[in-house]
Amino acid sequence: MGSIKDKVAIIGMGCTKFGENWDKSTSDMIIEAAYEAFEDAGVEPKDIQAAWLGTYMSGLSGQTLAKPLKLKYIPITRVENMCATGSDALRNAAYAVAAGIYNIVLVLGVEKLKDSGYSGLPDSELIQGLCFSENTYRSRTYTPPGHFAMMATAYFAKYGLSPDEGKRVLALIEVKNHYNGSLHPKAHFQKVITLEEVMKAPIIAWPLGLFDCCGVSDGAAAAIITRADLARNFRIDPIYIKAMQIAVGPQEGYISTHYKWTHVEETRRAAKAAYIEGEIKYPRIEISLAEVHDCFSITELITYEDLQFSTEGQAKEDVEAGFFNLEGELPVNTDGGLKCFGHPIGASGLRMLYEVYKQLQEKAGPRQIKNPKLGLTHNLGGTPGSATASVIIVGL
């Protein structure tokens, strides 16, 4: 198989404020994110030769992008891969650029979830049914918190953690993310919280509490990409894609007794493949920062192990030592992650990239980490046992 390493560059990015954007429609957010990206890249809408749109349920067909931006009669593909949509949109666009077909391509992810009037994700049961099975028997009220909480229950049991001990480790992760999020003006939640507040919060799906679960947000993020050899025509500090991998599982965890609910197989495989493609031998040392898919605190904890940042069963020690804090050895979710920045499904993968992009360009302000070289985004769709995981590595 071939490698994407150093073939494609990101030359501009944009991102709206994430949150309950009551006064903004899908089109409004598309325009905001896209135009910030155009300005950052120094290009205009008419320069775009092709586009990839990522959205889970906020618009069908490439038209959703063409209509507000007035992209006239260019190729536009709508991509969906559950919560990994944004990253997969980038992936598809990047291959088109690497193949030499297009020079200037727009990638945009958008989600408008808060028009639903519901709390939680507004998936209709039918979409759930189609997501997880074809027959109607599985179309029911299980929520994402419930599914991910099963990973927490299993992880605590495997490592002999009492509910209190386990929740404490998860709480440290959320305190970190909230602190980081308070430093980003575009984050949905910008409030510092304490360990006590997390521990005492009402239970959403046992053992996960309110602060262990990311909220539901609206938002959009965009990237302009070009071939690596053309990148310096646009800016002095383009960011290059080093690896781009996605692993899609066949729902094995729901059917096979081999899966024990203490890791995410899809993340492990995508990460392994990405490290090979990006020629990274020691991720714990070589990766400067990472944006991971912390839909739930337990997801972030287990992701540290699945990405080989921590050895299996040792993530707890790393969390307690502050290894992943902003001032730590390998800062994770420096912009607050899904938990605080927000999780508009189709946009998240690109928002993760946006933070890594700004960090690598030394434009992260109060969140800036020292000497960043390589950044990783981890974007996870579906549920443990039945997932789609993306791992993208970018660098200078």
């Binding site: 009037g117 209709s124 039918l126 179309s139 918190p145 927490a152 799906a205 996960l208 729901y254 046992g385």
Partner: protein, 472 residues
């Protein structure tokens, strides 16, 4: 000789103490508690959960009919017996029938089964009985009524309770009734109903039966009579010349309540558990008449006795509040959660998946022998395509691998417990756990499957399976 060759009861997990009801409305003469079916149960689900036990020592191929008796059918037009037969994965070419509209429906079904076997049009017929009647709040019916089910496998070989004789009368009488538009059961004046109905009719039918077979009260070890309340039962038995202390089967009123057409059969199964070989048992149902049966216990009783688990089910219970009962039965409207509305089930998808869903059949790969649910055309383990056999998960035991109590899930009774279960003989399922105390759930605990309603939408009951702790 025709008779009963297998039997079981199904008693819902929850109990409502009558004192909880009287806290709201005032005194009641009746003490004890009543069994309350969960919000995810109805007469069909209870019948399946009772019927599945009778299947155990029968090859499903040899059951020739499924008769279902109730006064509380989920559908007015759509045969419940067919749904039960599909859930129990019975043979296609059998006779299924619903027996409705009377508290005597259970013995109507029994009679039809006995007649079919006697006339050689069937060898084995499974009779399921279940009821979930509602009494209006603040009334005496609400205090009396309970929910429950029983199943009786009728045949002419391996019979443990042979039918020595029977007698029946019909009776047109207004005592308890309901029309299409009534949610709650209506009743006429107490004393009239008792004296001119119950006592009168049972006395007439039982006396005629005893005379017909030249038997006296002394010839019976136990007497099982339906009754609308325990006092009337004692009164009636004495009048007929029986000794209530020695011969009366416990009415189950204090433990389960009046379970309608299922009451007589449930009491009968409890009687069989204690019965000795050679015992003669008198059974009488009541409702628009009276059917009397005389049973004689045979040596086959020893084969079946251990498997009758009435006591275990009586002791396996949790207490609920009156408010929970009102919510479960939809007697009071409640604020719906801000979650998307339920999708209407697809009749096409339900049909395509009937055996897999209703009877919980997965597949077992013929090459690597891995059981899988849902059924997989391409094996999850060895990738072999279309080389599998049907594999039933409904009667399998398993262990809880992991779980969560989900407060966000839209359910009538939060939290919804989501569970991953690994079966002892292979295979895994993700499903909801019901009839459990959330505080007591632990990774590794043994579980079994139970047939339930997973949603009701667009006028369609979508039935599937949940898991529950094996030993509650």
């Amino acid at each position: 000789m025709v008779g009963i060759k297998s039997c079981s009861v199904y008693i819902p997990f929850s109990r409502l103490n009558r004192s909880e009801i009287t806290k709201s409305w005032g005194k009641s003469l009746l003490k004890g508690e009543k069994a309350v079916a969960n919000y995810d149960e109805d007469s069909i689900t209870m019948a399946v959960n009772a019927g599945i036990y009778c299947k155990i020592d029968m090859d499903d191929e040899s059951i020739d009919g499924l008769y279902f008796a109730s006064t509380t059918f989920p559908y007015r037009e759509k045969q419940s017996a067919a749904i039960i037969a599909a859930a129990l994965d019975l043979r296609r070419d059998i006779f299924t029938a619903d027996f409705s509209g009377s508290l005597r429906g259970s013995t109507c079904a029994m009679r039809a089964a006995v007649d079919a076997i006697n006339s050689n049009s069937a060898k084995n017929i499974l009779v399921c009985i279940a009821d979930m009647r509602l009494g209006a709040p603040q009334g005496s019916s609400e205090i009396d009524f309970g929910d429950g089910a029983a199943s009786l496998l009728i045949g002419d070989t391996g019979v443990f309770a042979a039918i020595e004789g029977s007698h029946c009368i019909f009776n047109e009488f207004i005592d308890t009734w309901r029309t299409q538009s009534n949610v709650f059961v209506l009743s006429a004046e107490d004393r009239f109903v008792r004296e001119k109905g119950y006592i009168n009719i049972l006395t007439e039918a039982v006396s005629m039966a005893l005379k017909k077979y030249h038997l006296t009260p002394k010839d019976f070890s136990k007497v099982v009579f339906y009754s609308p309340n325990p006092k009337s039962l004692i009164h009636l038995s004495r009048d007929l010349g029986f000794d209530p202390a020695r011969q009366l089967q416990d009415s189950l009123y204090d433990l389960v309540g009046n379970t309608g057409t299922a009451l007589g059969p449930m009491m009968l199964v409890a009687t069989f558990k204690q019965a000795k070989v050679g015992d003669r048992i008198l059974f009488a149902s009541y409702g628009d008449g009276c059917d009397v049966y005389i049973f004689r216990i045979t040596e086959e009783m020893e084969r079946i006795r251990e498997r009758i688990d009435v006591q275990a089910q009586l002791q396996s219970k949790q207490e609920i509040s009156y408010q929970k009962y009102l919510r479960w039965r939809n007697i009071i409207p409640v604020e719906p959660p801000t979650r998307p509305p339920l999708e209407k089930p697809s009749p096409v998808a339900l049909w395509r998946d009937s055996k897999r869903g209703l009877a919980l059949f997965g597949s077992k790969c013929k090459i690597c022998e891995t059981p899988q649910y849902p059924a997989q055309r391409v094996c999850i383990q060895c990738y072999t395509k279309d080389q599998f056999e049907d594999y039933c998960f409904a009667d399998k035991k398993g262990r809880l691998i992991t779980f969560s109590h989900d407060n966000l899930a839209a359910t009538i009774d939060p939290p919804a417990t989501i569970a991953t279960v690994d079966f002892d003989e292979g295979g895994r399922i993700l499903c909801e756990m019901t009839d459990r105390d959330p505080e007591k759930i632990e990774v590794g605990m043994p579980i079994k499957m139970t047939f339930r309603i997973v949603r009701y939408s667009g006028g369609i009951y979508d039935y599937w399976w949940k898991c529950r702790p094996l030993n509650s």
